[in-house]
Symmetry: C2
Subunit: 331 residues, 2 copies
DNA sequence: TTGTAGGCGTTATCAG
DNA sequence: CTGATAACGCCTACAA
């Protein structure tokens, strides 16, 4: 009772050939106006849906796009990826595609390989770029269309990104403008391009104001609570007046640590962060941070990838998709 | 250079028929031991991968499972779904499947329909159940195997869930044991089954202790900041000594509101919540809450669905997959 | 404008 | 144990 109706059934029921039916649906090739309407109507009424598998076999297309998520804990705690999905999902489904999600744990790209080698997707979105990016290298070699969220050196790779450089530059500059002179910077893995980009923005913010960032106050690869604790100690001892965290998870931990050490924010130390996510939404004091529109970003990458897949030209772009939200933590 | 090698190529190169090759790979039917090894080796060396599309066409299977996410803001802010994905992803890929994600915004189930009607998935996971569950109804009618995360009335539907009833009962009981007598309860949409389940657990916790929950202290459908504000006011005025929130997003907002109203937690009001997520991780005071293992839950549903798909029998089950984590907020 | 036939890469059904 | 051959459902030259 549940075997779907096929193009053949439609053809026979209407006394035409399946070629005609196929054409009526796809719009390719000429079909008599009347015939066409008859077919379309029948299809509608009998709820015929072409089998994507069969289409795929014939045209070697899946109408799936692969979205690669980092599966490490650092990333799973950030709402960023989930939010991007909303935008991607909307855009993609408008064009008739669906999203195949694959997680990539550590250095194991076998999941990515599977969906690419098995031809389960027409294109891929990498949701994060690495300094030495095996996934990207692999994709490039494989020849499948792909786009990254995030920046990388290779100009041949199509990249869509929030302008993290500008964002960090602007925030830094604002903080300096508010009177802070000695800002510390806290970031996660230096393998992630985004970490480096923000670092550059940070430096640029200083340059713009006629000075240099203090190198001894820059801490990268701060990826666990122990490091955070020791870094905060150093920051305080050094007499820094402000601290910029590269993400909200980091900032949250900093706040907690500060509380337990009776370091008062913003009195003893100003604080700023990135993402302006729900992670910090209910914290007090409210944390000044750069807010991105993840949904727009998701839409943009997805759109770009589909352009690429469908043979239109697609270019890398940086989205001016942020705003600095000032809150108490820097007052 | 990039056209994949096919089963035919393998067959010809080895001077056997593709039938034999197919058998060697699938293990179905008998093949000479030596022949089989020869084939397997050749495949390995020449990196042959069967085309999933062609397999799909022949066996009418996609090796995709659909995961349906709620796209509303309430849900997108909860790390719950993202975390479940990790478990699902692991389990599913071990069995050779991939995950197709589809978001469902409000009442619009067209996305779900698309992937089912188009036969893009072999089965579906519903990550949330509703009291009047259109998605579930649709899936049931469609005949495709599916499993829900969460509970529903229909015993024919295979359901995998954390034991939210027990979890809430236990927590309530513990709180009562700690001396609280008049607990208020705050929950989100009463359309979500989980809200009702926890409510029942809450009541049961009271019964167990020989009393009844106070109906006037139960607030459901608390879905925006205005309501939260007014509810907190009422709770305080009513002289309740504790507040149980059904999720961390809610609890976060409560904390914030309490702070701005100078209501001290736990002195003026004890607080407990669900999920023990990063949303509250760095809050002070730490919030007592029920912690689930989302990854395990994800694994369990995924495993169950695959059983169902592959014709093994699969039963609904409740996972005793929680623990109550006591923190300062209830001291 | 419409139809025929072959192909996409596998699996499954029969024979040998 | 192995091999033709026919599905699977759709697309697309090439004919008519």
């Amino acid at each position: 009772m549940n075997s779907r109706i096929t193009i053949d059934d439609v053809a026979q029921a209407l006394g035409v050939s399946k070629t005609t039916v196929s054409r009526a649906i796809s719009g390719k090739g000429r079909v008599g106006k009347e015939t066409k309407e008859r077919i379309l109507q029948y299809i509608e009424q009998n709820n015929y849906k072409p089998s994507v598998m069969a289409q795929g076999l014939a045209r070697s297309k899946t109408f799936n796009i692969g979205v690669i998520w980092p599966g490490d804990f650092e990333a799973v705690d950030l709402p960023f990826f989930q939010k991007c999905m909303v935008g991607m999902s909307e855009t993609v489904s408008m064009k008739g595609y669906d999203i195949l999600v694959s997680m990539i744990m550590g250095n194991d790209i076998s999941g990515l390989k599977r969906i690419v080698d098995n031809r389960k997707v027409d294109g891929v979105i990498l949701t994060r770029t690495l300094v030495k990016d095996r996934p990207a290298e692999y994709l490039k070699k494989s020849g499948i269309p792909f786009v990254t969220i995030g920046t990388c050196d290779d100009p041949e790779i199509v990249q869509v990104d929030n302008d993290n450089f500008e964002a960090c530059r602007e925030m830094t500059s604002i903080l300096i403008g508010k009177g802070m002179r000695r800002l510390a910077l806290l970031g996660g893995s230096s393998d992630h391009v985004i970490t480096k980009t923000r670092l550059q923005g940070f430096r640029e913010g200083y340059l713009e104001n006629g000075t240099n960032a203090e190198e001894s106050l820059i801490y990268l690869d701060v990826d666990n609570d122990l490091k955070i604790a020791s870094v905060i100690g150093e920051v305080i001892r050094s007499g820094a007046d402000g601290l910029v965290c590269m993400d909200d998870a980091l900032a949250g931990k900093v706040i907690r640590k500060c509380k337990s050490e009776h370091i008062h924010i913003p009195k003893d130390l100003k604080l700023a962060s990135f993402y302006n996510s729900t992670l910090l939404e209910n914290m007090s004091p409210g944390v000044t941070s750069v807010s991105f529109n993840e949904r727009k970003l998701g839409s943009a990458v997805a759109g770009t990838l589909i352009d690429l897949i469908e043979g239109r030209k697609a270019e890398s772009r940086k989205l001016k998709n942020y705003e600095v939200v000032l809150k108490e933590s820097t007052k």
